[in-house]
């Protein structure tokens, strides 16, 4: 979708994207010639269509304002999630390098990957997950 400032016959530029509110995005465009601003307010279906493509909307060069965060996050019930009433397992620390590698896992399965690796680490007696532990997990599962 493109926006044209009719009086200036000039393409408008995306300025800001407001966070989704009840399924609606507020996307502000302005004309670089006359400074006129308009806001496109999407309905829930329009927001959803953009989300479903797995893309994000935000001004070029600036911090990207997501349509609604990761389109996949929260869609899968976490396997191995904590059971209410049971004692929480001892926390496991992740090193920055291991966290960086975890970011390679698609967001939609990242929570399950994190939980599974932490469980593996505890079982092997590690309370800090570094790249060595990740490599050990790969080897253990024959990857």
């Amino acid at each position: 979708m493109k926006f044209l400032c009719v009086p200036c016959d000039s393409p408008m530029k995306l300025q800001t994207v407001g966070p989704p509110e009840r399924g609606s995005l507020s996307v502000v465009y302005s004309c670089p010639e006359c400074g006129y601003e308009i806001a496109m307010l999407t309905n829930a279906y329009e927001t959803q269509v953009v989300q479903s493509l797995g893309v994000r909307i935000g001004p070029e060069g600036g911090e990207k304002a997501s349509t609604a965060g990761c389109p996949f996050s929260g869609m899968i019930p976490a396997k191995g999630a904590e059971t209410p009433g049971l004692t929480a397992p001892e926390p496991v620390r992740w090193t920055a390098a291991a966290e960086a590698r975890l970011a390679n896992v698609p967001e939609f399965v990242r929570p399950m990957a994190r939980t599974g690796i932490e469980k593996f680490a505890r079982e092997k007696g590690f309370f800090e997950i570094d790249e060595r532990v990740l490599d050990a997990a790969r080897d253990f599962f024959g990857m």
């Binding site: 979708m1 493109k2 926006f3 044209l4 009719v6 016959d9 393409p11 408008m12 530029k13 995306l14 300025q15 989704p20 399924g23 996307v27 465009y29 829930a44 279906y45 927001t47 959803q48 269509v49 953009v50 989300q51 479903s52 493509l53 797995g54 893309v55 994000r56 909307i57 935000g58 001004p59 070029e60 609604a68 389109p71 996949f72 996050s73 929260g74 869609m75 899968i76 019930p77 396997k79 590698r101 975890l102 970011a103 390679n104 896992v105 698609p106 939609f108 399965v109 399950m112 990957a113 599974g116 690796i117 593996f120 990740l134 997990a137 790969r138 599962f141 024959g142 990857m143």
Partner: protein, 284 residues
């Protein structure tokens, strides 16, 4: 006044560019894969998933490097059958490692992360009207998986398709490099649905069809006995890659996720090996 096509770019939303970047990441991720083969039908319940796994095993036994992508996100079965239900998705330095069977077949299946007691759910801004967007989202998810996982160097990536003739066509459009193997059973109903799939796919991308459950193998008398009373051979106008009888022992192993590597030589394993050979020949 300028028209849409007079304006370069889209003013900053970059939706088209992002979609193009996604496609480029998929192409990149699959660069080491020689053949993409989708196992489809259109019809459900004809044994696409079991045949995919068995064929993968037969191809692996021939020394080929194989992986399976279970594209049936809503009814994933490869994780259980291949014995990778408990596998982790472990991140490497760039990509996510692929869970593997004991004989080295890489397997991605949603069944490794979604318990069988749960269903795949998407968050939605559209208030549950998923008929308006769900297919788009599932294909975006497929793209994310193809781009993120470490497929490596493969002779074949086998894609186990969900049922539905329309989905089969959508996969053909989404993955232009993919060849198709269609699965039927000796039933006129199944053949009718498969015939529809044949008409919707480009002929040059169909390697052929396999007739699954073509009788059953009785271990007691070491014979193939009939399952369906269907005397007419199908006439799809595409090559037949072979017929595979139903084997209760194979079904038992699939249910339990037991390895298929130590199977005795039977008419069924020979039939699978023959289909694997025909498939490779068809692809080459």
């Amino acid at each position: 006044m300028k028209s849409y096509h007079d304006i370069v770019g889209d003013g900053g939303s970059r939706v088209l560019e992002q979609v193009a970047e996604q496609r480029a990441r998929i192409t990149d991720g699959l660069a080491g894969v020689r053949h993409l083969v989708a196992i489809g039908s259109g019809k459900g319940g004809v044994g696409k998933s079991t045949l995919t796994l068995h064929l993968a095993g037969a191809l692996r036994a021939r020394g080929l490097r194989i992986a399976i992508l279970d594209a049936d996100f809503n009814g994933p079965s490869q994780a259980r059958m291949a014995g990778v239900q408990e596998a982790l998705f472990v991140p490497g330095r760039q990509k996510v490692s692929l869970p593997r069977t004991t004989n080295g077949i890489g397997v991605f299946s949603m069944g490794s992360v979604i318990p069988e007691s749960a269903a795949l759910e998407f968050e939605s801004a559209a208030g549950g009207e998923s008929q308006t967007w769900r297919a788009t989202r599932e294909f975006a998810l497929l793209g994310e998986i193809l781009a993120a996982f470490e497929w490596g160097t493969l002779d074949l990536l086998m894609i186990d398709l969900p049922p539905g003739a329309e989905r089969t066509v959508q996969y053909a459009e989404f993955l232009p490099r993919t060849s198709f193997v269609l699965v039927t059973i000796p039933s006129e109903v199944a053949r009718g649905v498969v015939a529809r799939s044949v008409t919707t796919l480009p002929k040059n991308r169909i390697v052929g069809y396999v007739e699954n459950m073509s009788g059953y193998y009785c271990r007691g008398c070491d014979e193939i006995r009939p399952l369906f009373d269907s005397p007419n051979a199908p006439s799809f106008g595409i090559p037949c890659l072979g017929t595979v009888p139903f084997d209760p022992e194979l079904a038992r192993r699939c249910d339990s996720g037991l390895p298929l590597t130590d199977l005795a030589d039977t008419p069924v394993t020979r039939a699978l090996d023959d289909v694997a050979r025909q498939l490779v020949e068809g692809l080459e």
